[in-house]
Symmetry: C3
Amino acid sequence: MDIARQAAAVIGRVREKKPLIHHLTNYVTVNDCANIALAIGASPVMADDPAEVEEMVSHAGALVLNIGTLNTRTIESMLIAGKKAAALGKPVVFDPVGVGATTLRTHTAQRIIQEVRPSVIRGNMSEIKILAGMNAGIRGVDSTADEQGGEAIARELSRRLGCVIAITGKTDVIAQGDKRCLIHNGHLMLTGITGSGCMTTSLVGCCCGAVDDLFAAAVAGVAVMGIAGEIAQKTLKTGEEQGTFRMRLFDAISTMQPDTLIHYGKIN
Amino acid sequence: MDIARQAAAVIGRVREKKPLIHHLTNYVTVNDCANIALAIGASPVMADDPAEVEEMVSHAGALVLNIGTLNTRTIESMLIAGKKAAALGKPVVFDPVGVGATTLRTHTAQRIIQEVRPSVIRGNMSEIKILAGMNAGIRGVDSTADEQGGEAIARELSRRLGCVIAITGKTDVIAQGDKRCLIHNGHLMLTGITGSGCMTTSLVGCCCGAVDDLFAAAVAGVAVMGIAGEIAQKTLKTGEEQGTFRMRLFDAISTMQPDTLIHYGKIN
Amino acid sequence: MDIARQAAAVIGRVREKKPLIHHLTNYVTVNDCANIALAIGASPVMADDPAEVEEMVSHAGALVLNIGTLNTRTIESMLIAGKKAAALGKPVVFDPVGVGATTLRTHTAQRIIQEVRPSVIRGNMSEIKILAGMNAGIRGVDSTADEQGGEAIARELSRRLGCVIAITGKTDVIAQGDKRCLIHNGHLMLTGITGSGCMTTSLVGCCCGAVDDLFAAAVAGVAVMGIAGEIAQKTLKTGEEQGTFRMRLFDAISTMQPDTLIHYGKIN
């Protein structure tokens, strides 16, 4: 079965299994992440107190860690939840939002990688370059790095960290050891709304909560977002832009079926 | 006057009185709760620091406590605000989100019930069963309990705690002592967006801030959400799903009038 | 060049420069603020931990401080970030949400004004009257003050604090020393959604991050919101209200061009 069909099958499994996905994420896009998880058929939960995250993650199918608005309390919670998930063999999907922009973000990302050993890391090119120890223009949370060499960087980082690496951008790159997949879906309008990266990570988390093959899960989560962006953009009429696009994105995810991936996917 | 007409009258009162509704709620759905409160004609405010909640709640018509993303700081604030509201004779509406899923949630819910003595508790069947001391399948924040026996549970818990109990689900049950009301409105799509429970609690809070009869207020708040879900769903065309539904839900609440309740309400 | 043309030019500069706008803001409307900043062409970032705000603000073109859901931790962060921005000569735009409603808000607003010396303050009439040391009916975060005397108050406060003052309401007043501008755009529906004030402040922040003339920047940010409200309202059909209006507001901002300001602006 080729990777596009495998990814399509993942979406079917999410809708059947409705996995509980525990998020420790930022307060900017948390509502979008909850809605996108529901739209793809999963059940999101967003507990973040150190006193309850171990218990909550033990109910979950996967854990999403996102440092978009990290603070002392939630860094502690992320490490506790992450270690517990790892100990229970549950997949941890890590989104190193804005790593490199501040020492706190870089240091926290390093701690999460070393102490939790995430199963999947999803970031933009700037973020992944920083994690790979390279120079990357980063100023806020949006990528400013060029996309040259993404494949090699993803493969090398995947081997070094022993996890799936997903770089999203004009062309998305997913790597796990020697395996790699490129996804040519998506639309520039996705960069014009907040949370498209965070939501992609949440979708990857939903997929990881539903199947054992985390490479296929990462491909599925990333592809779903790109395809939904294309579908949403195609519906727009004159005068309809960011607001309508955002709404239609959720429509597109909630109507997404395995066949949609087969039909629209530009995955190889 | 039957309960449907009483509930309709409550909505009229909210629009006339524009009560200030102080929320201590979670960061996942807080924007939705603020917008739904505005849509029904109330004025929401979301202060949550221990140093200001007593002062803020003293301006308010009602207080909403929601433990969706509780933490040490906000638990303290909820208890302070709740006790102050109770001391001032202002209604407190409590949403025990995810109670039973973690010890922290269960313990906090018990403290709020004992120390604040809420006027109304709104939850799904899993949450209310946990509060009633029964076993209930709960894993995250979505209900997995069956709805058998809701009426008896609601009445018993209402008598024991001396407050209005509202269980929302396929059929909603509202009980206060010997009184009970069933609401047959709503649509399954409400379970496909985040915050439909939280928003229902906020609507109940808005109604409690406008009238003295908290039973009628709870019926009105719950009915408004169910009816809005039906109206929103009916507008959907092919390809329109979660995203459009959510937007239309707010349209339906903001155009809701007393007559809408009379026309659409399946309340008895 | 008259002020309307200057404001139009500011919008063009935001779209060219794409300034990074660091926000320390509330968790109720933070997603809306991020999306509105993207819609006008800026790049928002929302870090709020004391340990990283100095570093983050040093990358930014402007800083937005909004006390909508202030707490001990974020008050400290706001002061740290604000002082750093001031030291670096970066504009600080302050939104004193709900000042006067609690002692904590009033005290924090005073500290920010004294210790940070914001470049622009944007509030509703109640909030600005409180800052000016006048009595003002304030109960939550919505203005209840009448709009009499706005011009005189804005000019006097601007001179006293040495910053631009923007009062938004039915007629918006922007003042800087002896200069003043009135904006007659906007629609009452803007008061029916949460965050219209916060989003206006964010738009002002985006404009301040793109040009040196902060008076023109404040006029541009405020005018954009009013005009977008008018455009959004005009598109509504029967049954479409708060939900659709909100979505169209983002459409209107993201399609807004310098010419739109010239065409729709009622600025003098």
